[in-house]
C-alpha cells in the first residue's frame, strides 16, 4: 500500500533556493530530462545601453508575439519547467510584459525578473507585487552614480535603479542587487555594499565574467577587471577578515568527479529562449539549438544533436581544465570559452585570469602564515 498523506505528505524539505534541496531538484530534473530553469528573453529592446551587454543588436521586427509567448509558456509548463526568469533587453519595456508574466503565474511558474530597475515606478512596483515573484534582480554597475550611468550610458539610471529597488523592498519583494565587476567599478565594491544595505536588498551577487557579444565582437574585453584589481579585491578581503578571508587550499578533482560531473549546467536542466524563439543551452552559449516557430520545445529539448553533445560533456573531456588544481574554485563559463577560443572544451582565458589572480594571492598568504 502506498504511503498515505499523513505519513510524510506535507514534509517540508527545503528552506530556500540554494543548498542541497536545489541540488536534489536539479539532479532529479537532469535524470528525468526536465528543463527545470528557463530564461525567457522577452525583447532585445532596452531603455539603457550597457557597454558590456552581450546582446549586440536590437532588430525592430520579428520578435515573438503575445500569443507566441503564451504558446511557449504552455509548452514549458508541460515540459516541467518550474523556475522561469524573464529577461531582455529590458523585460519591463515590453508593452505586454504584465500579460505575459500574469499568464506565466497562472501556469504555475516561479517567476524571477532580471531588470535594470529604472522603469520601476510605484505603479509598476504594485503590479509586480501582484505577480508574487520569487525574486527581482536589479543591476547596479557602480557605487557612484557617475560610474553606473557611464557604464549604462544613461544619465539618471543609477538613481532610478535604486528607487526601483527601494520600492520593491518596501513592498516585501525579495530583491537581489547584482553587479558585473569591471575595470570601471571594481574599486567601488564598498560603496555598492553600502547601497545594498541602505536599500535593504535581501542579497547581493557579483560576477567577474564579462561575456562577449552574441555577434562575436570582442570589444567588451577591455572592460574586464585587471589581474592587479582582482588581487586588490583578495587583499581587501584579507584585510577585512584576516585569516578567515583565506580559503583552504583547493581540493584536487577526484577521478569520479572528472568522469561523472558535468562542468556546467548549460542544457542539463536549463536553457535560454531569446525573443525571436531561438533556444540556446544558456544565455552565454551562442549556438541556437532550434527555433520555436519551426519546432516544438519538446522536439528541440529532446532531439537536438548539439544539445546531446553538450549534455555528454564531462570534466574529463576538458583537456586543460580537468588537470587544473583550481577547477573547483574557477567560474569557467563554457559559452565564454567558446567565444574566446572557438571550443566549448577549452579553458576560458578570462576565467583563468580571475582564478589565478585570487589563488596566487591566497597561496602567498598561506605561505606567510605557516
Amino acid at each position: 500500500m502506498a504511503k498515505t498523506a499523513k505519513q510524510g505528505g506535507a514534509s517540508q524539505e527545503g528552506v530556500s533556493r540554494s543548498g542541497s534541496w536545489m541540488q536534489r531538484l536539479r539532479a532529479k530534473a537532469q535524470a528525468n530530462n526536465i528543463p527545470l530553469h528557463v530564461m525567457l528573453e522577452l525583447t532585445n529592446h532596452c531603455n539603457v545601453w550597457c557597454r558590456h551587454c552581450y546582446i549586440s543588436d536590437r532588430p525592430p521586427k520579428g520578435e515573438l508575439t503575445l500569443d507566441e509567448f503564451k504558446g511557449i509558456l504552455d509548452q514549458l509548463a508541460e515540459a516541467g519547467t518550474l523556475f522561469l526568469t524573464l529577461s531582455g533587453g529590458e523585460a519591463l519595456i515590453h508593452p505586454e510584459f504584465f500579460e505575459i508574466a500574469a499568464y506565466a503565474r497562472e501556469k504555475g511558474f516561479s517567476l524571477t525578473l532580471f531588470t535594470n530597475g529604472t522603469m520601476i515606478t510605484p505603479r509598476v512596483a504594485d503590479r509586480l507585487v501582484e505577480l508574487c515573484p520569487q525574486r527581482v534582480e536589479i543591476s547596479l554597475l557602480g557605487g557612484l552614480a557617475a560610474t553606473h550611468d557611464q557604464i549604462m550610458q544613461t544619465p539618471g539610471s543609477f538613481e532610478r535603479a535604486l528607487r526601483g529597488a527601494r520600492l520593491l523592498v518596501e513592498r516585501g519583494v525579495f530583491v537581489q542587487i547584482k553587479t558585473t565587476w569591471m575595470r570601471q567599478n571594481i574599486e567601488e565594491a564598498q560603496q555598492i555594499q553600502s547601497l545594498v544595505e541602505e536599500v535593504g536588498a535581501a542579497s547581493f551577487r557579483g560576477a567577474y565574467m564579462v561575456i562577449h557579444r552574441r555577434d562575436g565582437s570582442t570589444e567588451v574585453a577591455d572592460m574586464r577587471a585587471t589581474p592587479e584589481q582582482l588581487r586588490a579585491v583578495a587583499r581587501r578581503a584579507y584585510e577585512r577578515l584576516g585569516e578567515k578571508g583565506i580559503p583552504p587550499e583547493p581540493e584536487p578533482l577526484t577521478e569520479e568527479q572528472r568522469r561523472e560531473t558535468s562542468p556546467c549546467g548549460a542544457g542539463q536542466s536549463s536553457c535560454c529562449i531569446d525573443s525571436y524563439g531561438n533556444v540556446y543551452p544558456c544565455a552565454a552559449i551562442d549556438t541556437a539549438l532550434g527555433n520555436l516557430r519551426e519546432e516544438s520545445f519538446v522536439d528541440i529539448w529532446g532531439g537536438s544533436q548539439e544539445l546531446k553533445k553538450i549534455r555528454a560533456i564531462r570534466i574529463a573531456d576538458l583537456p586543460e581544465c580537468s588537470a587544473c588544481h583550481l577547477f573547483m574554485r574557477c567560474s569557467r563559463c563554457a559559452g565564454l570559452a567558446k567565444m574566446e577560443t572557438g571550443s566549448l572544451l577549452a579553458a576560458s582565458p578570462q576565467a583563468c585570469i580571475v582564478a589565478h589572480a585570487f589563488e596566487d594571492f591566497f597561496q602567498e598568504k598561506r605561505c606567510e602564515l605557516q
Partner: protein, 97 residues
C-alpha cells in the same frame, strides 16, 4: 475546524510543478520550497480543480486502496498542515456551481 464540504484551493501566490511524480511547491511569502510524498503530490495535483475535502478523500480512498476512515483522517491532517503553512485556502462552492 475543517468541514468535508469545504472547497480547497491552492494559494495563488504559490508556484508549483509535478516533477517526475513529486509535487514541488514554492511559497514566495517565506521563500521556502516544499516537497510532498506520492499521496501528498496526488492531492496537490487534485487541488488544481478546487475539489471539496470529501472529493479528495474519495480519490485517495479509491486510488491508494486505504479505508475511507484512514483516507479521511490523513487528508484532513494534510490539508490542515497546508492551511497552516498558507499554501491553500478553504471556501465554499458557489451555489451556481
Amino acid at each position: 475546524m475543517i468541514l468535508l464540504d469545504q472547497v480547497v484551493s491552492r494559494n495563488e501566490k504559490t508556484a508549483s510543478r509535478i516533477l517526475a511524480g513529486e509535487a514541488v511547491v514554492l511559497t514566495p511569502m517565506d521563500s521556502k520550497i516544499h516537497g510532498f510524498n506520492e499521496t501528498g503530490s496526488r492531492i496537490w495535483e487534485l487541488l488544481a480543480d478546487r475539489p471539496t475535502l470529501s472529493e479528495i478523500v474519495a480519490h485517495i480512498h479509491r486510488e491508494f486502496e486505504v479505508s475511507q476512515e484512514q483516507a479521511q483522517s490523513d487528508v484532513i491532517a494534510f490539508i490542515e498542515e497546508l492551511v497552516a503553512r498558507g499554501m491553500v485556502t478553504l471556501g465554499q462552492r458557489s451555489r451556481e456551481g
